[in-house]
Subunit: 451 residues, 2 copies
Amino acid sequence: MTPTRIGLRAALLTLALAAAVPARAADDGEVKDFLLDNGMEVVVIPDHRAPIVTHMVWYKIGSADEPPGKSGIAHFFEHLMFKATTNHAAGEFDRAVSEIGGSNNAFTSYDYTAFHETVPPSALEQMMGFEADRMRNLILTDDVIKTERDVILEERRSRIDSNPQAVLDEEVDATLWQNQPYRIPVIGWMQEMEQLNRPDATAFYDNYYRPNNAVLVVAGDVDSDAVKAMAERTYGKVARGPDLRPRIRPVEPEQNTKRTVTLTDARVSVPSFSTQWVVPSYHTAKPGEAEALDLLAEILGGGNRSRLYQGLVVKQGIASDAAAYFQGTMLDATNFTVYGAPRGDARLSDVEAAVDAEIARIVKDGVSDDELERAKTRYVRSMIFARDKQDDMANMYGSTLATGGNVKDVEEWPDRIRKVTADEVKAVAARYLALDRSTTGYLLPQQQAGN
Amino acid sequence: MTPTRIGLRAALLTLALAAAVPARAADDGEVKDFLLDNGMEVVVIPDHRAPIVTHMVWYKIGSADEPPGKSGIAHFFEHLMFKATTNHAAGEFDRAVSEIGGSNNAFTSYDYTAFHETVPPSALEQMMGFEADRMRNLILTDDVIKTERDVILEERRSRIDSNPQAVLDEEVDATLWQNQPYRIPVIGWMQEMEQLNRPDATAFYDNYYRPNNAVLVVAGDVDSDAVKAMAERTYGKVARGPDLRPRIRPVEPEQNTKRTVTLTDARVSVPSFSTQWVVPSYHTAKPGEAEALDLLAEILGGGNRSRLYQGLVVKQGIASDAAAYFQGTMLDATNFTVYGAPRGDARLSDVEAAVDAEIARIVKDGVSDDELERAKTRYVRSMIFARDKQDDMANMYGSTLATGGNVKDVEEWPDRIRKVTADEVKAVAARYLALDRSTTGYLLPQQQAGN
């Protein structure tokens, strides 16, 4: 859960980006939400501006749900979902998407695993057919397991082990989270990935790949009644699985210490640091706190209008970058992160001190009504931009529904953001961003080890 | 797994020290080891010098075996074992021990939970009867659970939460161990202890409190045939439980970073630090490595003849204390720890630098044959001293058998220690004690936060 700077954090993207389909502006059609008889939830987001539909299936299973010692099985299973089923050879689904000029992909995160295709509406039912098929009909042989396990091991070597930032991030996460499973990397620990086997995969499939553990999100040029009829003809035929236990996971004890994690590596050219705190997510927060944390991140370090960017990069000129993040859409408690890297001859310790000073200033003096209003405007506008991109919109509903929220939570979110007061922003900063109860990662070049 | 300076590390001692019975010197009688029909292992260590017997039951269940989110259940269960059974009221067992002038106690660690009594030999079968009874016949009511849960919560408040060293140690452990369950405190995390309930306790009892998951150790003025007959009459009547799965737990990934954990607290008067590394235990090490680590700890920091003590306390006079520990008797990978505290006006950072320098010196130049011989002599003598104390002897066999070893491992241990070479000591220091891949805890007084 350390920042990856780009894209959906911590999600591992996989396979088959067949052809990029540019998204267009969406309309304001009413979102429909219903259940199939087998317990599968369906959300339809109308968007009639272009003959395109985004079809996503979200399973409420992520790496934080993995059994002890089986880290990586959720992501591994995402890979296995692209293998042969009793009805389709491996690769057939991908080829079908390619041939109609669509795109498809999948990702795994701490709390969910999602599969999606963007295609012309005429192909929607075909997509549903393929997805419904692989929900239950995968052929999991030892051969398939062995081959694909080699793929994820190589993925780990190339994405993590050969990347000092990624190596550091893993150990920072595991230092920040001492009990909650977000400490375990989504891709898994190498020594456990190597042992994943067919019984593990079969048990995982049978437990979690069930309609009553899935959310279907369809956004695009479709009619909700038609989607419902198609979903019933395809997904509706999949038998409901056993009821799943509530996702109650170990939670984090209160942190009493200041922790640091330092990686010194010859491959690093510019030093950097990031400091993280455990904070509530939208799912665990008291009313208004997560919204205040979102605005705090925006004001402190959300883009180039933020205090950190304006202060450290523009005015003082000591940082090449400085930012703050809040990862609110999580099932359990989440993290708030600040980040900085020096520019030119500036020292990393100066950048860190300047970031700390900006935090201390908010804790002490709060934020002005004016900058709060501007942050709200920027923030709510980002929601409108998201509405404007079909797949962002589908992601917003899917990730919310897969982490304990509902359609109303998404729709009322701009109003809840607008209600946050300056005092509430100051209060969450004071409550959560204590420097003597934080976890900081340092990435240092070999020669600057003493910096 | 940070040092507690005294006693059996990480073990939580409980209840009922009725009357202290001084142990006497043991003879060299042959140790007998056998199984009862129900799978219970029995070890008899003859010691006829005094009319005393130590009776211990070791269950191969510790805090590292707890289900996720149920931390503290192993220790909680140790408490519950002192409650009423279908045959005896609560307190009856303790009173029986008291009345015959014996002593009894129990402790829980990461890998085992043990119950023991020291009594006249004539009371041995009575002790067996009580222990065999509570192995299966406890009455676990909601009332019992609630009352005893309050006791362990209070125990946590008084032992951990009101003790800055203990608070720090917990977070150091959880920072050192990022995947292996030794990161979880034996007493449990408060928020999980509060939720422990009757179904948790019953499941734990039914899974683990079984003769085929227990080792009986009897040391003292007894005859092994007589012990066997008594054990068959008491424990032998307890039905074997279902076979337990092998104790394969999540293991630690390789550490790539230097980690620190700092607690600054007004209650601290003298600052101190401890640095820890993950190293193999006797159960996980390649042949000879654990023995070499034992001797490395002895040479570097085992008592007042060690390099750390002689260098930092005696010669330089900068430290009030400096030591090294190796906790070898663990089922999984374990920790090697160095520790230091400044004296007078010396700075903590000077003490830490001096400790680091002593480690670097061993890594670079190794140890002399002469000091290795002296360390072996001291070390093997400590084994002879242990033989001399009945309960230490029983502990040595019990802890070894509960962590994957056997009677032969205990008996051949002095020979294996004698075979370690100076090169092997240097090799384990070089391999495991890298300062840029370590975890250091700092305990600082409020006013010296910047030290």
